[in-house]
């Protein structure tokens, strides 16, 4: 009798355990995951960019997942899983990662890269025009957060960017400077000529924008400069006093800046040489009435390197912790081991852009639908007219795959970047 009872109890336990295990497996199977991939510089001199972007991606993903995840095309909720790779600011690695992600993973979209050179190389291996059967390029959508050099997204119809639009920002900046300083006349400046972003923006964007708003070159009029974007860029560079991105000695350049006696000085470079130049200018007691910098230097790095000497520098930026959302992202980024700045803030926006596209285009997110899902993602990204940004509405430039992000002007004050003008 007892044995039979025991047997029955044992059998029920076994069945119950089996059912429980089965239920757990079923529940686990029902926990859907949507794969995304990102890559950036995690090694080499640009490591901070990769670290910051990755931190912000993980912060945004946690926010989405905690709220339930993304609603897929078949009605189920899926959590986001992101793998972040190191492209080391190296074209071959960037291409390898893009191919790895596209051909060996289920990722629906790729975020990145950090370096414009890597972007230029990777975008080149993508299919140029969709539905061009003769083009053997990669068919995988990319949404860039950091690489900001002009004109990259239009290399392929699969590549999109959520990066600031410098021509617009500097145009409005000089309009504002002109309005507030009607008596200022002359300008002078320099850039790191072997850094594509710094040089390109200086010569084709900043210089022309200043010229457009009535400022003249301190050492003599440059006839080729008409105020239009990119006009007279070679002549401008020739008349400027420049340096290279790992230079350490700026005495010659600073002396030329001083001799120019210009009202406005432009230092278009990244934090390392910006600080080097500013320190030398301080040493030679050069005090311009207005000091303008490059977008990429409106970060904590500049403050860490030369807060005192940067005092008063004005830079347009597409991120400052002045809206509640922006403040939250800045805090969360720190919690995840990075920092939010105009480059990494795009990471937050990207996650929500992708979430929206998935939900609006009904992407299924199953292995069998991978290629059609990626196509839907691409089409969805292209169709976007506006996206939500941390600083306000972002307009998309649809035929180029670029973004027009809202911006503010910040000025270095006592070791912080304070907003001095908010045109939003």
């Amino acid at each position: 009798m007892l044995r039979k009872k025991l047997f029955r109890i044992g059998l029920s336990c076994a069945v119950a355990t089996g059912m429980l295990l089965g239920l757990m497996t079923v529940t686990h199977a029902a926990e859907r995951v949507v794969n995304l991939a990102g890559w950036g510089a995690k090694s080499g001199v640009l490591r901070s960019f990769g670290v910051n972007s990755e931190a912000v991606y993980h912060a945004a993903i946690k926010e989405v997942n905690d709220a339930g995840g993304i609603k897929m095309g078949d009605g189920t909720m899926a959590k986001i899983e992101l793998t972040y790779y190191d492209s080391a600011c190296n074209a071959e690695q960037g291409i390898a990662v893009a191919r790895k992600v596209a051909s060996t993973t289920q990722a629906l979209v790729g975020f990145g890269p950090t370096c414009s050179g890597v972007a230029a190389a990777s975008f080149g291996i993508f299919q140029k025009k969709v539905d061009d059967a003769s083009d053997s390029g990669l068919q995988f959508p990319i949404l860039t957060d950091t690489a900001v050099r002009n004109g990259l997204a239009k290399i392929s119809q699969w590549t999109f960017r959520n990066t600031p639009n410098e021509p617009d920002m500097y145009d409005k900046l000089f309009a504002w400077v002109r309005k507030n300083n009607p008596d200022l006349k002359t300008m002078f400046g320099g850039t790191e000529t072997d850094q594509g972003h710094s040089k390109g923006t200086y010569a084709k964007v900043i210089g022309p924008a200043a010229k457009k708003h009535g400022f003249t070159w301190a050492t003599g009029e440059i006839p080729a400069m008409t105020g239009q974007i990119a006009k007279g860029w070679k002549e401008l560079l020739d008349s400027s006093s420049n340096w290279l991105m790992n230079d350490t000695n700026f005495s010659v350049q600073a002396r030329k800046f001083k001799k120019s006696k210009a009202d406005i000085l432009i230092v278009s470079s990244h934090p390392f040489t910006t600080c080097g130049m500013l320190k030398e200018l301080a040493r030679q007691r050069v005090k311009p009435k207005v000091l303008i910098g490059l977008t990429s230097s409106s970060s904590a790095e500049t403050m860490k390197g030369c807060a005192k000497q940067a005092e008063g520098m004005i830079i347009p930026t597409s991120f400052a912790p002045i809206t509640p959302q922006a403040k939250k992202v800045a805090e969360l980024a720190e919690q995840f081991g990075g920092a939010a700045d105009l480059h990494s803030a795009a990471a937050w926006e990207n996650i929500f852009i992708v979430k929206r596209v998935i939900e609006e285009t009904g992407i299924i997110g199953k292995p069998g639908t991978l290629q059609s899902d990626r196509r839907k993602m691409r089409d969805g990204l292209e169709a976007l007219e506006n996206t939500v940004g941390l600083m306000g509405n972002i307009k998309r430039v649809q035929d180029e795959g670029e973004a027009l992000k809202p911006y503010v002007f910040v000025q270095a004050k006592l070791g912080n970047w304070e907003v001095v003008y908010d045109p939003r």
Partner: protein, 304 residues
């Protein structure tokens, strides 16, 4: 598969870069100039296919010949410097080439798109392969046919008198001279051959990555060029190939699962390999072992 085809392209191209330094090392010249010839080949062939619509084959040929020409020119002054001084002089040459391309600005509008080297903005849209429907597998095959041909040529060279001549000069110049070898001719020919191979590699590089700029051809890449033959061993061409697979295949791509640790291990593993196998991964002993295993009982050890 795309990923693996892409990786094999990288390995093939870097093998060519390594072999261009290898042939010079045989004659005792440690040259960091190969990346300069690599760059010349890259820009020349890129300009030809992108701006002038050349087919890839003549572009590769011209790219490597132009690189070889400059190598020939460099060969003569390089004779006057030895050892460390040659290292520094070749570093300076590579910097020179890099600076030249830094200043090169030559644009043309083709099919409505502006292409060509744009100094610091770089030379983008070298899209010959994709625009002509070559998929990554076909490109990989193309690259490897070329690599195999070059390796075969060098392997055959090693078996011939020319190889012995090269190694003799590398081993002991005085002795080589006393048996009547013309040092100038040997060294300049080696430099030229190295230049042609590097130019070929550079041309393939430009088309595989679709983008080059002056920063691509850095001292770092020059160091990789000599790293491959040193790590691989100078006893034969396979050493260089093994070293490229080790560095690009294992250290760079294979160790990705280690995340952040990958980059820290990179340098350490190189140090480890050099301490464990100072003559290279495929040193004379391993080469003999492989020879016996695959070719069965050789007549004697490999020379050098």
């Amino acid at each position: 598969m795309d990923y693996y085809f892409g990786l094999s392209q990288t390995i093939g191209i870097h093998t060519l870069l390594g072999l261009s330094a290898y042939i010079l090392m045989l004659t005792g010249q440690l040259s960091l100039a190969q990346v300069g010839f690599f760059a010349i080949g890259a820009y020349t062939s890129g300009i030809l296919t992108t701006m002038f619509g050349y087919h890839i084959m003549p572009a590769l040929l011209i790219g490597s010949l132009v690189a070889g020409f400059f190598a020939f020119l460099i060969g003569f002054p390089a004779l006057r410097v030895k050892g460390l001084m040659l290292v520094v002089a070749t570093i300076a040459f590579s910097q020179f080439v890099s600076l030249f391309f830094f200043n090169l600005d030559w644009r043309k509008t083709v099919n409505g798109v502006e292409v060509g080297p744009d100094s610091t903005q770089g030379f983008r849209e070298i899209r010959y392969y994709a625009a002509n429907g070559w998929d990554s597998g076909e490109v990989a095959l193309f690259v490897w046919v070329i690599v195999v041909l070059v390796m075969a040529a060098l392997w055959w060279l090693d078996r011939s008198r020319a190889g012995a001549v090269l190694r003799a000069v590398g081993e002991d110049e005085l002795a080589a001279q006393s048996v009547g070898l013309n040092l100038t001719a040997v060294k300049v020919i080696a430099m030229t051959a190295g230049g042609v191979i590097a130019g070929l590699g550079g041309s393939l590089y430009a088309h595989s990555t679709t983008y080059v700029d002056h920063l691509t051809f850095s001292i770092l890449l020059a160091t990789f060029a000599i790293a491959y033959p040193i790590l691989g061993g100078l006893s034969g061409v396979f050493g260089t190939l093994v070293a490229v697979i080790f560095i690009q295949g294992i250290l760079v791509e294979g160790l990705r699962f280690l995340g952040d640790w990958r980059n820290l291990l990179f340098g350490l593993l190189i140090v480890l390999v050099m301490n464990l196998k100072p003559e290279g991964i495929i040193d004379a002993r391993v080469a003999q072992l492989l020879k016996r295993t695959f070719l069965g009982g050789g007549k004697g050890g490999k020379h050098a």
